[in-house]
Symmetry: D2
């Protein structure tokens, strides 16, 4: 029985390759997580177990997809960045997005019981949707990550104050909302401190900064060292095809061996990037001795 | 701290809405399933547990996403069809694909231990990638599904014969390949019957036909009944927006209550569709009394 | 000197093929035609010479691009429809749009002096922009054309009344606008008739209906004849590739010889289409004897 | 008569905005120019009138679309570059391509008689198709332009030698082809010089280098001057929205007044760009006194 009669349907598939030489961000978001939070009684304003579970799933994605250079997570969302030189799945958007989402979801469900041993999953299960966005320059990419990290800060300060008013101050949701309407950051800090003796600065970094996932190598001294991402960062990148295949293969293997870490630190300032030139260059750094 | 400085990065996200009034097929495929099969010792040529697990995950997708009208699975792939009138996620390709893939993956991992109690999962976990394709006409859509079902038949006949030669005939892989090179369907049927007393027609339907997932209502007599998908099937569909919202809402609820079934039957002939007009019309049928 | 060092830039070109088996409409619009009208003193509310020039350019497009089945023009816009089976330029949107726009513009500029012998063109020259839209069903396509023709009617009734109030009634623009604010079609007919003795029904068809461009064959009696577009119109189209190449070639030649006509008639009712089955079937009809 | 019944068809139009912060190249190509060349007896290997006509049309495009920063033409093709910060037509591909193609075509047809007074146009008229491609970095953009200019050189050397063999050497086409098969640049130079006393270096620059169109300001000394495109060229571009609107408006006016010139010079080396920083910065330079 020949299949040729029907095979014409393959021609309906349409190309969705992402523009070459751009940084690809795949962002995933929890679907209906408000319900999830209620169903499994996530703590407010932050549930450490839920965040640790997100980070575990994100680490698996970064580890398995070695073209990801960095990931950033906050709340029920995570952004994965593919290096601009990546040709994974020929840069097809649907393959990139679906693979990230599937790997993340698989690990989230698989590791659930480690973090919530007393609250077994039941259908409908936690799921995530995703999308891919391209950024042409390092500045655009860093602005994207800064946008997410500033958002993390804004939301966490609000939520911390909001839930303090409720949990410690005895207000109901509406009164807490009303109290915070139009308030500035300084006002919220003041409410936390004067009413509840909470110094926001002392809150855990994971809540204030979110989580940054990347491969760990020896830090670089930004002053004593000619950071070799210069050529990559300046938009005058070498043509994609000119890196030798064997070199690319070697680098891939090095990256596969590198330790993937989860940190909670500022990515907005230059320092983070200056000391970790391998992230934007995608050239593996020195493996630390202690590792 | 204002976020406005960075928010411009949102403008880089690009629209990916699928053409209205077309049938959307989201097909997912197992990633690196050859390795998976080896790692968890899937039986050859078909592992019933693995197929049942696929079907369980697919049922969850069809149940949770009520705009899916039918799904078809074979081996490590599954196709989910959204009705041409669906406006789920405003028809954004990345949202549709990622949601299907995430829901499928979550259920696959979650239900794994039910079907493989003695082979616990370990990283790297099973994952799936996906893509969306639009089909403008019922004929194109049916040809797509026929294409997959014919493929199922062709592959299963080959694999059944191939593994019989090895498992029952004592050949090694190369000899089995050589034996089958250039053989026609009749040749394979003959090999199975004369050498191994296997009548291919008696093989389980799930292997020969794959799995069809849909909502179950009372079957319709194609002769005694004016099938009311006529208007939908003839390309002269009513404008999408003209169905009243309340009617749409009622239909959605009815669909949500309908029983989702997994069958192993021919979808290529008209009969399957004639007796189940609700699949293409997306108008819920009569709930069977026995249900 | 080898060019290979730079040739990688070709990879940045992205696919833009339009979905197969859908009707492609390329609509072009005059750019800055308000200025054009003033500069060359187009008559209000309709300038017959300008419309004839548009029609001449449109005829050239339909004649030169034999995959166009019909075109419809009103004011400074024109829509060109490519048959759903067309594979012209592999259905690449940019090629289709740019070729239509270029052919139209070339003919518009070339034929200008025929229609405006006393008003020679000077820079900036008249130009047009364009876009392509796909319609999956005949009904969608006909609704598109009906949309444009209804728009023609609505605008022409308004403009005819508006300019009568000014040219015959002595009102200024603002007063004319005010007079028509909120008026219904009946009100405008009444104003035309009672104030200016104009029976709108007697206005020239070209102004009321716009211009329809198509290949002319012998009309078909919709009752006495089994219209052979049935299979095409019902969404159950034959797979695209199944029409034989030689047949397609013959049809192309016949179409190339057919006379392209410009008519001003109703396309909204079925009659127009029933009597001209060749438009939607793309199978050339009988050449009329008188031709 | 309401139009609402049909207006749903507008929803079928799909977004085609090009990625922000990337350099947009719209390249147009003559359609069927081999026939055109024969019909109007263009001189071989280069027809100066035809090239001058192309350049006249290109100047009109650059002049009328002030977001174009440079254009490059060779033979029957022309590439127009829009600055990466351009938001013309909201960066919609079809609008950009169609407007460039239409403006070019209109001017080509309009100016034809100036360059070919003795060969009046007749249908089918000269037309062009077009496409848009995005380049993320200055280097990618310059590589694109270098690619076209190297192509110009390669083709012109070949064509000059080929036609010399025929026109001066008396060979027929096949023999000329055979003579050049596998020849290197040096071989062609040698043939030209030894057989026909032609020093290729003395050929007109317009044939060897093609035509570069840009706004003319006072040249900058690359050494004595800190070229202020640094920030733009290094990929660390300021967010697009941060340039003030009034500044943008002023710059637009300055650009509109600048003289658009056509030159035949090397764009591959840095010198061209270093001395004309306004091209990549899109900040108007100093208007030369002599202008």
């Amino acid at each position: 029985m020949a299949n040729s009669k029907f095979e014409y349907v393959r021609n309906f598939e349409q190309a969705d390759s992402l523009l070459p030489n751009t940084w690809i961000v795949v962002r995933i978001d929890g679907r209906a997580f408000t319900k999830m939070c209620a169903k499994y009684r996530f703590q407010k304003p932050n549930d450490r177990r839920a965040l640790d579970l997100m980070n575990t799933a994100a680490k698996a994605v970064v580890t398995e997809l070695s073209d990801t250079i960095i990931a950033y997570g906050v709340s029920d969302e995570y952004s994965f960045v593919f290096h601009k030189s990546s040709n994974l799945f020929e840069r097809r958007a649907s393959k990139l997005v679906s693979t990230v989402v599937s790997t993340f979801t698989a690990n989230y469900v698989y590791s659930w019981s480690t973090y919530f041993p007393d609250a077994p999953l039941s259908p409908p299960l936690p799921t995530f949707d995703g999308r891919a966005v391209c950024y042409p320059t390092v500045q655009n990419l860093r602005d994207y990550l800064s946008w997410r990290q500033v958002d993390c800060h804004i939301n966490n300060l609000y939520n911390t104050t909001f839930w303090s008013l409720i949990q410690l101050g005895g207000l109901d949701n509406k009164d807490a909302e009303r109290t915070l309407a139009g308030s500035l950051a300084a006002d919220k800090n003041e409410i936390l401190f004067s009413r509840f003796h909470i110094n926001y600065n002392n809150e855990p970094e994971i809540y204030k900064k979110g989580s940054v996932v990347f491969r760990h190598y020896e830090l670089v001294d930004p002053n004593g060292h000619t950071v070799d991402t210069d050529t990559d960062a300046d938009g005058l990148a070498e043509p994609i095809q000119q890196q030798s295949k064997s070199r690319a293969e070697k680098d891939r293997k090095k990256r596969a061996k590198a330790r993937v870490v989860v940190e909670h630190m500022d990515m907005i300032k230059d320092d983070f990037w200056d000391r970790r030139p391998w992230i934007l260059s995608n050239k593996p750094g020195k493996v630390p001795k202690e590792a």
